[in-house]
Amino acid sequence: MRRTALNSVYELAQTDDRIVFIGSDLGPGVLAEMKQAMPERFFMEGVSEQHIVGMAAGLAMEGFIPYVNTIATFLTRRCYEQVALDLCLQDLPVRLIANGGGVVYAPLGPTHLAVEDISLFRSLPNMTILSPCDAQEMGHLMQQTVDWSHPIYIRLAKGGDKIVSRADSKPEIGKAELLREPGNGLFVTTGVMAQLALEAAEQLEKDGIGCGVLHLHTVKPLDGESLSQWLPQARHIITVEEHTLIGGLGSALLEFCSDHLPAQTSKIRRVGIPDHFADRYGSQTSLWMHWGITVETLYQQMHRAITG
């Protein structure tokens, strides 16, 4: 997914001279071809995220479309004020490509776990938040980032993630993707959680329980139209996110339902990360297991909800 995102930047830059790339202090060789082919539009600026976001704003004010890339925590926590004021207040088309969304960097500990990034950015006016489920979907969405006239946060997963998006689908920024028709149950997911939900839905099907998966690659703006169409069709809804339960996808859904679909609110349960810093290392999947973000948990929770 990361490779797809970055390669897309170079690919897009070849036909659009407004596109520039800014990294902080990334690994050696990142976008080496772009650096060689168009050095005037490739910037590696060092460990200076506050500056980088401001610099991107300055370039955007002059008509460029900067794609900024570094680790998600540094692009959210470190320079929040720059994102809020330089990008969102002034509504500039800067794209923030965030490595390691969620707990990808589990072995590196809480300093590197981006578990509140969606919550932080969801509260910023003008911000768009993308969290694709796989590289295929990322590729489609990256094409659309060029002409989106607002700042965008792009949350990357680990990479090498199983392709679960439909080959024939044409995902659009701001539009939810129905990956599986709802039955009695419906999982609503973002990012790679779609993969877990699809597997859980398949297991439920073996028990004769119909369960759908509605995937929100765009967490903001929320696709109210799709939610209004699909949520009423299920009896039980579980949101699944690799993110703190405070302020992420589940919160967004509950807020939306409270405002627009109050009858749906009581159907919704949420799976995500509890309100404390990670107290162990391990791997992304071992942390998921620790917090009950697994296929088995999703299966059991939905099964219990539907069968009582």
Binding site: V20, E40, R41, F43, E45, G46, S48, Q50, H51, I52, V53, G54, M55, A56, A57, G58, L59, A60, M61, E62, G63, F64, P66, E81, Q82, L85, D86, L89, Q90
Partner: protein
Amino acid sequence: MSVPSLDSRSRYLRRLVIKMIEVGGRGHIGPALSLIEILRVLYDSVLRYRPSESEWPERDRFILSKGHGCLALYAVLADKGFLPLEELETYGKSTSRLGGHPERHKIPGIEASTGALGHGLPIGVGMAIAAKIRKQSQRIFVVTGDGEINEGSVWEAAMSASKHQLSNLTVLVDYNKLQSYGPTKEVLNLEPLVEKWQSFGFAVKEVDGHNVSELEQLFKKLPLNSQKPTAVICHTIKGKGLPFAEGQPEWHHKSRLSETQISEMYACLEE
């Protein structure tokens, strides 16, 4: 350093600032009054711009990074015709375009929304790089406060400006030696300031920030070095023009000023 007394234009621009304080009831007086001559010279003699076409592509870019000094900028922009002079009397009203910090898209001539400190120089670096990529000749001027450059983002941007040899970028430090709490040398000493900017790769000059002819002479020489960004340390006096406010930290921001106090301010700045 001998400072010439303020001429009639400097007093006039200050009266516009006081008018805004009078109608708005509050504002950052001290930080605006230290800026007047810097802005006046930039807009009178240095910057290329078209008031009726504020987004003219070939204009020079000016960013007031110390956004709390905006009363001075509003006064100069109105004087130059970016906005009607009478609009200054809306300052601070709920529906006015003129708030306590300047906002892009609201006010013609405001290039960047500032107010939180340490944002202007990174944005200026981006603009300067944009001009370089497109081989355009516009210049970028950023005014920072002295307390403002406590912010680490300023120095991140300074390193970047130097790396990219942005000779089209000039940072002007309004060095009035007072930040909100008190003297900069006590709150967080900036010295040696000239050497600091030099060590970050800037060509540096010092100037009396209230001496119009000195400022004009210096600005004519920009860039000071064709391979480096420029930093100009403007030695100024916070509250300049109001003897009772000069160098007084409590005049950083004032509210609830009485009619008598307003009259005293005008009395210092008569034609």
